[in-house]
Amino acid sequence: MSIEVTLNGRPCELAAASDEMLLDVLRRAGARSVRLSCGVGACGACTVLLDGEPVSSCLLLAELARGCAIETVEGLVDDVVQRSFDELVAFQCGFCTPGMILTARHLLAENPSPTRAQVREHLNGNICRCGCYPRIEDAVLHAARTSEERR
């Protein structure tokens, strides 16, 4: 079947099997930053924003995304969170990084000036096995401050 979505701002039709997860469909469409890791929604490596909300694309049947706006890091341009992760080196292997960035963007959209505790709470379901947590917290807080200064 064919599923109409808006992917990173562009309307497109995704070809999908009727029982296929959004993750596989997006990877086929070139969004390789969306990655399968745990397969049960526990780690966040496959996070995408669906109409602005973070979801585990490994668990979401593609059909359920019909008509939605999907955001992956491939669509980011001059993004303050992304730049902050880069500047502070808030990553090691990088496998979890796109999901971290998207979840952090969602947090800052809801709460532009989070405390460290709020960052930890919101990102808690995104696992970084390399254990970059303190640095990632720093990067999200740094991004929030940078946005604030800009405003």
Partner: protein, 721 residues
């Protein structure tokens, strides 16, 4: 921006080849069984393949130390043992076919844990003497005939156990550790392709050259006919070492005559390689005033169904059990034991985690008995430069005492010792060891060819930095090439935190060689050459000699760094490590006395780093090691029922998340002029042992790792509090 941040990085799971098939492994449901029939009801669809042990009958068993691992098993030795594999044009079809495969078997008696495998009448997983005598087996194997002990590692120093007669006080305890999963975010992935009798494998691996040799063994090829290309990994921590899934992909590709890609699902990682569960009995003797006299350790390392690097883990576990202390007498037996479980092998902290959990708690047991401050007791006995370790080697550049003092300050040991525990540790690097590197100049760019695998620890940044430093060039001119065993110089492997240390030596030599080649080209003395900021080279003092690098012909310089050593398997004497990874940890806990929940409320780790090459990435490594240590201390345990893993998913197997990690102080100690020391896995083993000692300080001593609140409550009951 870094390609990890943009998402543009490509891992081995992203590798694609024209006409490739996708594979799925068919696994044994029995812990020990003779497979009698495997068949796909309805037949194999066109364009798909199914292979079983019969299809790889020509292949030889492989293994990094013991050739005991078949490509596909006819006798299944654990629940999850690969017994067949399918490949299909579509990954979902491959999965469906694998699930549809019908298997018949007859059960054999199984030994599904250490206790069962060590029993007097235990079922035998392998004929240990037979596998140890096979061609290609490590000559240091010391199997015990008729048992499941594939290797007994011994260490004798002084008068050994007899030396306890000089001790005034003796303490003894027994400790156990559970199996743990590396759980890298990226599951194992590889792609195999045959062309013209040569096998090419793209795979995320820490050990490209070991893999090349093992694949050559398995398929009866010359090593030169195997090519391993190693893209960056999304984490590994020891999981992607030696041959994991590559031989199966290669066998499928051979049968299908098409490239075959194999990516594991999360549950399969728990069936592929885990950390050794252990049991250790530790006895420690000292004089009344706290001088360590003798240590005796027996330890058992459950290596699972195939030895993998288990004998080496046990050997490391033997001397790691001594700890960073002076002893007059030491005797250690460390047995590597086959069981009908998934294989256990290399895991960040390699044997030190299990050894320190037992030995460092035994130190606190002694401190308690003698009523000596555990910090003072450690400082009194810790090795210093010029001391002789139990292996006979002389200590140099040794700073565990300073690390202990640093963490004691950080945790405010003098203010309050309630619920605070310490751990001191030394760990070694792979010894002997060899690293090769080449720096190439072409089209104005400098490229490093070195087989240090990118796991996330940052060689992509650090190796070019080292090369640039050695050349005196701008690091932005230098990049690290992808590993390709056809092109990349030999390197032992990316393990044991050896790579930056070893590659600094190899790149130093390579840089000198390149400078000599440049000097020949420019007809100058190598010492007179200078790289300019704008991508040129000139003879010092002669600005007119400046030439853009791009105008030079292709040139290269190669270097190698070799260190000798190793231990005698019967005495444990020799050189265990060319340099020591050293550290100390301190943990403060708070215990909910009604639920047994342990909270780490303070944590300090100090690691000696010698010279740090990239401060930001070194700190990430050290921090990450602490975070993983928290998981090992409190959560991580693979659970089994009749040999079957019961929590093979990341919901039921818990790894630390943001909120599980308290604010902590992990420091790297540098010394001007010191050599580079490995630092990637020193902090991990500190955390469980220091947490154990913190609970001991509260009268809630724990024998099993990880620490579950239920057992803490049991300890509370025993303490009568």
């Amino acid at each position: 921006m870094n390609e990890r941040v943009t998402g543009a990085i490509r891992y081995s799971q992203d590798v694609e080849r024209p006409n490739m098939l996708h594979a799925k492994i068919v696994r044994s449901l029995a812990a020990h069984a003779q497979i009698t029939r495997i068949e796909l009801p309805g037949g194999i669809p066109e364009g798909c393949v199914l292979i079983t042990a019969a299809d790889v009958a020509d292949c030889r068993p492989y293994g990094c130390l013991v050739p005991d691992t078949p490509v596909l098993a006819e006798t299944a030795r654990y629940v999850g043992d690969p017994i067949a594999a399918v490949a299909a044009p579509d990954p979902r079809l491959a999965e469906r076919l694998a699930r549809a495969v019908a298997v018949e078997w007859s059960d054999l008696p199984a030994a599904t844990d250490l206790e069962a495998a060590l029993a007097a009448d235990a079922p035998v997983v392998h004929d240990v003497c037979e596998v140890a005598s096979r061609r290609g087996a490590w000559s240091g194997m010391r199997p015990i005939d008729g048992t499941n002990v594939s290797h007994r590692s011994r260490l004798i120093h002084g008068r050994g156990e007899a030396g306890f007669d000089e001790a005034d006080v003796v303490v003894e305890g027994e400790w156990t550790t559970a199996s743990a999963q590396h759980a890298p975010m990226e599951p194992h992935a590889c792609l195999a392709e045959w062309a013209g009798g040569r096998l090419t494998v793209w795979t995320g691996t820490q050990t490209p050259f070991n893999l090349r040799r093992e694949l050559a063994t398995a398929f009866g090829l010359a090593e030169a006919d195997v090519r391993v290309i190693a893209p960056p990994m999304g984490g590994s921590f020891g999981a992607k070492t030696f041959t994991r899934i590559e031989a199966i992909a290669a066998a499928l590709a051979r049968a299908a005559q098409r490239p075959v890609k194999l990516v594991l699902a999360r549950d399969e990682l728990f069936l592929t390689l885990n950390r050794h569960p252990t049991r250790s009995r530790v006895r420690l003797g000292a004089t009344r005033d706290g001088r360590f006299v003798a240590r005796r350790v027996w330890s058992w390392w459950d290596t699972g169904a195939y030895a993998d690097t288990g004998p080496n883990v046990a050997a490391k576990g033997a001397w790691a059990a001594v700890g960073p202390y002076r002893f007059d007498h030491v005797e250690i037996d460390a047995d590597c034991v086959y069981t009908n479980r998934p294989s256990n092998g290399a895991f960040r902290g390699y044997a030190a985690t299990q050894a320190a959990w037992a030995s460092e708690q035994c130190v606190d047991m002694l401190a308690e008995r003698l009523a000596i401050d555990p910090l003072e007791l450690r400082l009194q006995n810790v090795l210093r430069d010029g001391d002789r370790f139990a292996t006979g080697e002389l200590m140099h550049d040794f700073h565990v005492a300073e690390c202990l003092e640093a963490v004691a300050r950080e945790i405010e040991w003098d203010r309050s010792r309630a619920g605070v525990g310490l751990c001191a540790l030394m760990k070694g690097m792979q010894t002997p060891s060899r690293a090769g590197a080449r720096i190439e100049l072409a089209d104005g760019r400098l490229t490093v060819h070195a087989a240090t695998a990118e796991i996330g620890q940052g060689p992509t940044t650090v190796l070019p930095k080292l090369a640039a430093e050695a050349l005196g060039a701008d690091p932005r001119l230098v990049t690290l090439a992808e590993i390709d065993t056809d092109v990349t110089p030999f390197d032992t492997r990316t393990t044991s935190s050896r790579s930056t240390h070893m590659m600094a030596g190899a790149l130093g030599e390579a840089a000198e060689a390149l400078r000599r080649a440049l000097a020949d080209e420019l007809e100058a003395a190598p010492g007179d050459l200078r790289f300019t900021a704008d991508g040129g080279i000139e003879i010092v003092g002669t600005p007119a000699s400046r030439r853009p690098l791009a105008s030079l012909p292709a040139l290269s310089g190669e270097g190698e760094h070799v260190i000798e050593g190793g231990l005698d398997p019967d005495s444990g004497q020799g050189i265990a490590s060319a340099h020591w990874h050293q550290g100390a940890g301190a943990v403060r806990v708070a215990v909910d006395r009604e639920t047994g929940v342990v909270e780490i409320v303070g944590l300090a780790a100090a690691v000696y780093a010698g010279r740090v090459v990239d401060a930001s990435r070194a700190a990430l490594q050290n921090d990450g090691s602490v975070v993983m240590g928290i998981g090992s201390a409190l959560y991580e345990s693979i659970e089994f029922s009749d040999g079957q893993v019961t929590n093979a998913n990341m919901g039921d197997y818990q790894v630390p998340a943001f909120r599980d990690v308290p604010a902590f102080a992990a420091t790297l100690h540098e010394l001007p002029g010191a050599e580079i020391h490995g630092l990637g896995e020193t902090a991990l083993p500190l955390v469980p042992a220091a947490t154990g000692n913190a609970l001991r300080a509260l009268g809630l001593a724990q024998s099993h790792l990880p620490i579950h609140p239920e057992r803490v409550l049991d300890a509370l009951d025993r303490s009568g509090a």
